[in-house]
């Protein structure tokens, strides 16, 4: 029988985490083990993977075939895109954004990281901290993933040595000083043999921390949202015009920051008019308060002209209202960034246009050094960029609020999302 009880499942929390890694570092093995050991791989899926592995002439069951869903991926044996996988333990439900780890997939790693509460970074115990570790950690820092778990893998190949573990741990923490990681946890594992993945390892009695699954189940995620600065981007205006709700005018949206309570005084941006919250409505009822990431409908005491793209905030802590914005930008498209080029911008529920005014520097994601002399920004490049928008945006620094600090850049000719930006730059590199 299953370890789930019908009632217990209703109280679970959701944790989204990302993994980055390439073919050889055991990432697929690790995910395969997490899924398999939590009974999230079904027999027909396993059968299909077994059949495909044999057809390919593989010696072992290739668990990567579970996540590599597209024909081209299976043919070429590579992961092209972000794959989402799901599993649950009796404590939590998990969403894995599984991304390839090579430098040419930086944009996929950035995508996977954008919604993650936690990141798993794998280090091969034989190699220690490498360029790849550096890159993955930088992305975790850039995207401000609240929790980073460093899995020192392949401990079986270094005789489960505590010395090796401690050395790598020190090596990483020295390097991580250059980054702004909020919380780092270290776990020595062997994904292949299962040491410290789900069950505690008999081979590493010196390790006193929890297994990877234990860490994933117990990370504190309640504080991952900004609960201080009230931000409510208006998504849609609800006007039923029915007999029963004739004068109803509600502002539908998702709380992006802070806590809104009935009776709170709010300021509407950009008009700067103020009013009081009459009600916070959900289906057939009302709430006393709402916080991120709740989707609610707010009604106000006063009749004010408010539409999509406006934002409800509070007087005591306003966002920055500005047309000049500096962002760290990851470029997502083959067509390079055009300096002085014009693009469409989406920020919260607001649509504006912008002109790229200046590229200040690019970042070498392997060494974290600034590249000041090459300012051409192409696919997978990360650069500090200054842009000016046609209308003001209501922004917070990305390290203060991941929702109001994020924007995307769209090519107006192709309608493609070509760049993504994180507002502010001081959270990236020390002295940056």
């Amino acid at each position: 029988m299953s370890e789930f009880s019908t009632k217990g499942y209703l109280d679970m929390e959701l944790l989204r985490f990302t993994t980055a890694g390439s073919v050889d570092d055991g990432k697929s093995t690790l995910i395969g083990r997490l899924l398999y050991d939590s009974k999230s791989i079904f027999e027909d899926q396993l059968e299909a993977v077994k059949r495909a592995s044999i057809r390919r002439g593989n010696e072992h069951i290739d668990l990567a075939l579970l996540t590599d869903g597209l024909r081209a991926e299976r043919e070429q044996g590579i992961t092209i895109d972000v794959a989402y996988r799901y599993f649950a333990t009796p404590k939590r439900k998990f969403i894995i954004a599984d991304t390839p780890g090579h430098i040419q997939y930086t944009r996929n790693m950035v995508t996977g990281a954008s919604t993650a509460n936690a990141a798993i970074i794998l280090i091969d115990a034989r190699n220690g901290v490498t360029e790849q570790t550096c890159r993955h950690s930088y992305i975790a820092s850039l995207l401000q993933i609240p929790h980073v778990i460093i899995c020192i893998n392949k401990m079986d190949l270094v005789e489960y040595s505590q010395q090796v573990y401690e050395r790598i741990r020190l090596e990483f923490s020295n390097f991580a000083n250059k980054l702004k990681l909020r919380e780092v946890t270290y776990v020595p594992i062997s994904a292949l043999h299962g040491d410290n993945v789900v069950d505690a390892s008999q081979n590493m009695p010196w390790y006193e921390g929890g297994t990877l699954r234990h860490v994933l189940e117990h990370i504190e995620i309640g504080n991952d949202h900004n609960l201080v600065d009230a931000r409510f981007p208006v998504q849609h205006v609800i006007r039923p015009l029915s007999d029963e709700f004739h004068d109803y005018r509600g502002y539908a949206g998702r709380v992006a920051g802070g806590v809104f309570c009935t009776g709170d005084k709010v300021i509407v941006l950009p008009s700067l008019l103020s009013s009081k919250i009459r009600s916070i409505d959900i289906y057939k009822g009302s709430l006393d308060e709402a916080w991120p990431p709740m989707s609610v409908t707010i009604t106000l005491e006063d009749d004010i002209d408010i539409s999509r793209g406006d934002m409800l905030v509070k007087e005591e802590n306003m966002p920055l209202i500005t047309q000049d914005i500096e962002v760290m930008m990851c470029w997502m498209n083959e067509k390079p960034l055009q300096i002085n080029g014009k693009y469409a911008v989406k920020h919260t529920t607001r649509d504006v246009r912008c002109i790229i005014q200046e590229v200040k520097y690019k970042v070498n994601v392997n060494t974290l050094e600034k590249i000041p002399d090459d300012l051409s920004v192409g696919l997978n490049d990360i650069a500090c960029v200054r842009l000016r928008t046609t209308k003001p945006l209501f922004v917070d620094p990305y390290n203060v609020n991941r929702r109001t600090g994020a924007l995307i850049i769209i090519d107006e000719a192709t309608n493609n999302t070509v760049g993504v930006g994180m507002v502010g730059t001081n959270h990236l590199l020390n002295g940056g």
Binding site: E13, L14, G69
Partner: protein, 302 residues
């Protein structure tokens, strides 16, 4: 200790889906919700109702009708539409066959599953829908695991999985050119278990065939299929009466039935928690090849 400002996973998924559905209403001129009568589209409709309350649904429901339905699904559909005061549009595969748009498959394993794509695309074109919301979930199938919330379709309705738009945070890019449309999947991040738990929590009514009943069935390649006038038996097959229920609902010709005595949601959840086969394991349409779903999706399938 739990922080006061935490949410359960079902609350978080619900808020995410409501956000996506509202985003569709805000970004598109003529959205539509694809309604099959299955549990996923029922949950999606429920979420849409919640998203716009006290307003009405700001878009119609579209049912692509293969003509090969479980009767109970149609009864359920018509009751729901009446209760919600929603507009229902039906795209008929039979009509696509009659007008020569598609040719009916032949043989004992013939199915109208693939034919639906043409009917769907024709209906989208006819009504000039620019966004069609579907109940697809990423945990269902490996090609679906790569799907975006906002999935761009070209003027032929095709999906280009290798060239999808990056989708970050909760910022959705629904910009498109004339003639193109979007498929939107508001419950992308839900698993089968989440859907059932939510149905229990919200006390959502379902078509009766999800619960145990006696039915005349026959076994084909290990899958139990229902007796229906348009199904042809092969030589080695015969009808027998079994206690069954549906785990998923699709076209009757390719929906496998589960031998089950589960009579309420709690029992269904216990059954699913203990099962070791995916829900699409019983779907003949997915077994045609390793990339059956990807190939259908590229052409414009749900």
């Amino acid at each position: 200790m739990k922080n006061k400002f935490t949410l359960t996973h079902l609350e978080e998924l619900e808020y995410e889906s409501i956000y996506v559905i509202r985003e569709v209403a805000a970004q598109f001129e003529r959205p539509v919700l694809l309604f099959s009568g299955g549990k996923d589209s029922i949950v999606m409709t429920h979420l849409a109702v919640k998203a716009f309350w006290p307003g009405k649904l700001p878009f119609p429901l579209l049912h692509i009708d293969t003509g090969h339905n479980f009767e109970e699904t149609i009864v359920y559909r018509d009751n729901l539409v009446k209760k919600l005061g929603a507009q229902l549009i039906v795209g008929s595969v039979q009509e696509s066959i009659d007008t020569g748009r598609v040719i009916e498959e032949k043989g004992a394993t013939a199915s109208r599953n693939i034919l639906q794509t043409t009917t769907l695309l024709d209906t989208i074109e006819k009504y000039k829908f620019d966004a069609a919301m579907g109940g697809g979930r990423r945990d269902e199938e490996k090609a679906r695991a790569k799907e975006r919330f906002f999935s761009h379709r070209d003027e032929f309705g095709q999906w280009d999985p290798k060239n999808q738009r990056p989708e970050l945070w909760n910022i959705f890019n629904g910009r498109k050119n004339q003639g193109e449309h979007f498929r939107v999947f508001p419950i992308s991040n839900w698993t089968e278990m989440d859907v059932w738990q939510y149905i229990m929590k919200e006390e959502i009514e379902l078509p009766e065939i999800y619960f145990t009943h006696q039915r005349e069935v026959f076994n084909r390649d290990g899958v139990w299929l229902a007796k229906a006038p348009f199904m042809t038996l092969k030589d080695n097959e015969h009808y027998e009466t079994k206690t069954v229920r549906c785990r998923t609902i699709g076209d009757i010709s390719c929906t496998g039935l589960t031998l089950s005595a589960a009579n309420n949601i709690e029992e269904i959840i216990d059954e699913i928690a203990a099962t070791r086969v995916t829900e699409r394991g019983g779907r003949a349409d997915d077994m045609r090849s390793e990339a059956a779903m990807e190939d259908r999706k590229k052409e414009g399938y749900f």
